[in-house]
C-alpha cells in the first residue's frame, strides 16, 4: 500500500517539527509493515502543493494525506477522492464537505481560548497584554479574534497592541524590541507560537527590564516544555498543545484507511473511520509537562 503525504515545507519551527513527525511516521510505519510505502512531499507554496498532489495521483497512491496551505487545494482533493483514493485532510481544511474520508484538526479556537484563560487568571484578570501574531491568514485571524473575545470578559485586561511576527523568531524579536520601546508597563505577552515567544523573550532579556511576568506561546517546542518541566524559567509556566504530531496521527489514519482496516470493531461506518477528528488542545503546566516532552524531536 502506498500513501502520499503533502504538507507545507518548514519555514518556521512548528512546521519543522511537523515535518519531523511526518518523517518519523514514515520510518515507523515502513519498519512495522513491509507493504507500506509512504512518500513525503513538502511544498513551499500552495501551487506547488497542488502539483505535488497531482503527481502523487499519477503515481496511483492508495491514500493521500493532505496538510493544506489553504483551501485552494479543494478541487484537487476532490479529484483524488473521486478517483477512490483514501483521503485524509487536516488542519487548515478544504472548503467543501464530504470530499475526504477523514478530517483531522487541531482546535484553533480552544487552543487560544485555553491559553488565554490561563493567562488571564495568572494575571489576576488585570494588566497590560501584548500580542504577537503569525502571518496574516485565516487561522491567525481566528486566534486573534478568540483572544480579543476572551479579553472582553475581563475589562481590566488591556490589549496594548497587536502586531504580526510572521511565525518568525527574528521578526518577533524585532516586534518585541519595538513594544519595549513603546510601552513602559507590560504584564504579559502572548505570542501565537513558541518560536516567536522565544524571540520575544530574547528581546525582553536583552532590554534588562523587569516588568513582564508571563510569556505564553503555544505549540509545545521541546525547549519550552523542558523549561516548564524543570520549572527553570519564571517567565514561562505553561504552554498549550497544538501538536505538530497531528500529521503523524493523520498518516496513521491514512495507512489504516488504505489497508481497509477498521479502527475499532465497534464503530460501524461507511468508510471504516470517523470522518471528523478534532484533537483537543491541552494546557501544559509543570504537572503534566513530561507527558508532552519528546526528547528526540528536533524542536
Amino acid at each position: 500500500k502506498r500513501i502520499g503525504v503533502s504538507m507545507p515545507s518548514a519555514t518556521h519551527g512548528w512546521m519543522g517539527n511537523a515535518n519531523w513527525w511526518a518523517t518519523r511516521a514514515k520510518t515507523d510505519w515502513e519498519a512495522r509493515d513491509k507493504n507500506v510505502k509512504i512518500e513525503l512531499k513538502f511544498s513551499g507554496t500552495v501551487n506547488q502543493q497542488v502539483s505535488d498532489i497531482e503527481d502523487l495521483l499519477v503515481k496511483k497512491v492508495d491514500a493521500i494525506v493532505v496538510f493544506p496551505h489553504d483551501t485552494s487545494v479543494t478541487s484537487v482533493v476532490e479529484k483524488a477522492y473521486e478517483q477512490g483514493v483514501y483521503v485524509v485532510v487536516l488542519d487548515r481544511g478544504v472548503s467543501k464537505e464530504g470530499i475526504y474520508d477523514v478530517y483531522i484538526t487541531n482546535d484553533d479556537e480552544a487552543y487560544t481560548r485555553k491559553g488565554m484563560e490561563w493567562l488571564a487568571k495568572q494575571m489576576g484578570f488585570k494588566g497590560n497584554l501584548l500580542l504577537i501574531t503569525g502571518i496574516p491568514s485565516p487561522i491567525d485571524t481566528i486566534r486573534t479574534d478568540t483572544i480579543k473575545e476572551v479579553c472582553k470578559k475581563y475589562p481590566n485586561i488591556k490589549i496594548l497592541d497587536v502586531q504580526p511576527g510572521d511565525w518568525n523568531k527574528q521578526k518577533s524579536t524585532t516586534v518585541m524590541e519595538n513594544y519595549l520601546q513603546k510601552y513602559k508597563q507590560i504584564d504579559a505577552v502572548y505570542t501565537a507560537d513558541d518560536d516567536m515567544m522565544l524571540g520575544a523573550m530574547q528581546a525582553y532579556k536583552e532590554s534588562g527590564r523587569k516588568d513582564i511576568k508571563f510569556f505564553l506561546g503555544g505549540g509545545c517546542l521541546k525547549s519550552v516544555i523542558k523549561e516548564i518541566m524543570d520549572d527553570s524559567n519564571p517567565l514561562v509556566k505553561a504552554d498549550v498543545t497544538y501538536s505538530p504530531s497531528v500529521i503523524a496521527t493523520s498518516i496513521s489514519y491514512g495507512v489504516i484507511g488504505a489497508k481497509g482496516d477498521k479502527l475499532n470493531p465497534y464503530v460501524y461506518q461507511v468508510r471504516a473511520l470517523p470522518r471528523r477528528v478534532i484533537l483537543p488542545s491541552e494546557l501544559v503546566t509543570k504537572a503534566n509537562a513530561k507527558d508532552f516532552y519528546v526528547p528526540e524531536a528536533p524542536f
Partner: protein, 332 residues
C-alpha cells in the same frame, strides 16, 4: 508535439535551450520511470507549468526592456480578489447568470491587471524610479490591499461554472486506455506565447523593446520613445497577469489572499532567464521562456516521480537547474 511548428522559428542560438530541454526530458523519462511518460502526467506537467508560465511570457518583455517586475504574484492576488468579488456581485445582480458573471469577472481581472501594470510602468517611466524598487513597493502594496480586503481570508467564488471552466479541457480524445486533452491554461499559454513571440519578432514594438533594453540612449537618439516602450512592457505584463490570475482563481474557484500567487515572481524570472533571455535586457525569446518554464516543471516533476526524500529533492533540484543551464550555455 504541438510546439514543433513554432519551434522552427527559433534561431540557432536557441538550439542550446532545446538541447537542454531534450536532455532533461530523457533524464526525466529514466528517473521518473514509469510515471513520467504517461500522457496524464505530461498533461499535468504542462498544466502545472502554465500559470506561472503565462506570467513568465510577459515577464520576458519586461526583462528584455531592461527591467524587472517583482509585483507579479501580489498583483495576481489583488486582481483575482477584486475579480472574484465583482463576479459574486454579478451573480447576485443578474440572478444567477453565471456566464455573464464569469465574463464580467474575467474582464475586471484583465482590466485591473492592465491598470495596475500601467501604474508600475508610470512610476518607472515618469517617476524615474528603478523598476526593482517600484515593483518591490507595489508587491507589498498589492498584497496587503488584498489581505485588508479579505481580512487575510479568502474570497470563494459563488459561481460553480467558474470552477468548472478552470478545469476545462479542449480537444479531449481517447488514446488507448487514457484520454488525451489540452487543458485550457495550457492552450492559453501556447496561444499567448504565439502572440507575444509574434509581437516580439514581427512588430515594431518588439524591435523597440530590444533596442531600449540593449541601449536606452541609442534608442532614444534613434527617435524611439523609450518611456512609452517601457511603459507598455509593464502594462502588457499587468494584462497577462490578469489572464493568469483568472485561470488560477478558476482552478481553485477561490482566492486565498495570503497565498495566491506567492513567489510567482521568482518562478517567472527564473523561467525567463533559463530560457536564455539576458538579465540585463536587450535580447530574449518568448519560446525560450516557454522552454524554461517546462524545464523547471519537468525538474520538479521528475524529482517527485523519483520519490526522493524531500530534503534531497531540494538539493538535487538546485544541482539540476545549474546543470541544465550549463548544458545550454555550452552549446550556444
Amino acid at each position: 508535439m504541438s510546439l514543433s511548428p513554432s519551434l522552427k522559428k527559433l534561431d540557432l542560438e536557441k538550439y542550446g535551450s532545446l538541447l537542454a530541454l531534450g536532455v532533461l526530458f530523457v533524464l526525466a523519462s529514466i528517473v521518473g520511470r514509469p510515471y513520467f511518460l504517461r500522457p496524464e502526467n505530461l498533461i499535468n506537467v504542462m498544466r502545472q507549468a502554465s500559470y506561472t508560465g503565462i506570467i513568465a511570457l510577459s515577464m520576458t518583455f519586461v526583462i528584455i526592456s531592461g527591467g524587472i517586475d517583482l509585483s507579479v504574484g501580489s498583483l495576481a492576488a489583488f486582481v483575482a480578489s477584486c475579480g472574484v468579488l465583482f463576479m459574486n456581485l454579478l451573480v447576485k445582480a443578474t440572478g444567477g447568470n453565471e456566464t455573464l458573471a464569469i465574463a464580467g469577472g474575467v474582464a475586471v481581472m484583465m482590466g485591473l491587471g492592465l491598470c495596475c501594470g500601467a501604474l508600475n510602468g508610470l512610476l518607472i517611466t515618469l517617476g524615474k524610479i528603478v523598476p526593482f524598487i517600484v515593483t518591490l513597493g507595489t508587491m507589498s502594496i498589492f498584497r496587503y490591499l488584498s489581505l485588508q480586503m479579505a481580512n487575510a481570508g479568502e474570497f470563494a467564488s459563488h459561481s460553480q461554472r467558474f470552477g468548472e471552466f478552470g478545469m476545462a479541457k479542449l480537444f479531449a480524445f481517447k488514446a488507448g486506455e487514457s484520454s488525451i486533452s489540452l487543458p485550457v491554461p495550457v492552450a492559453v499559454l501556447l496561444a499567448l506565447a504565439f502572440i507575444l513571440s509574434f509581437v516580439l519578432t514581427r512588430t515594431r514594438y518588439g524591435r523597440y523593446l530590444c533596442a531600449v533594453g540593449s541601449n536606452a540612449r541609442v534608442a532614444q537618439y534613434s527617435a524611439v520613445r523609450v518611456g512609452r516602450v517601457r511603459f507598455w512592457a509593464y502594462a502588457i505584463n499587468g494584462l497577462v497577469i490578469g489572464i493568469s490570475a483568472a485561470l488560477l482563481a478558476a482552478r481553485f474557484n477561490t482566492v486565498s489572499t495570503p497565498n495566491f500567487g506567492l513567489s510567482f515572481e521568482m518562478d517567472a524570472i527564473a523561467a525567463v532567464i533559463i530560457g536564455g533571455t539576458a538579465m540585463a535586457g536587450g535580447r530574449g525569446s518568448v519560446w525560450g521562456t516557454v522552454i524554461g518554464v517546462f524545464m523547471l516543471q519537468i525538474i520538479q516533476n521528475m524529482l517527485n516521480m523519483a520519490g526522493l526524500s524531500p530534503y534531497l529533492q531540494g538539493v538535487v533540484k538546485g544541482v539540476v537547474i545549474i546543470g541544465s543551464v550549463y548544458i545550454q550555455r555550452q552549446k550556444q
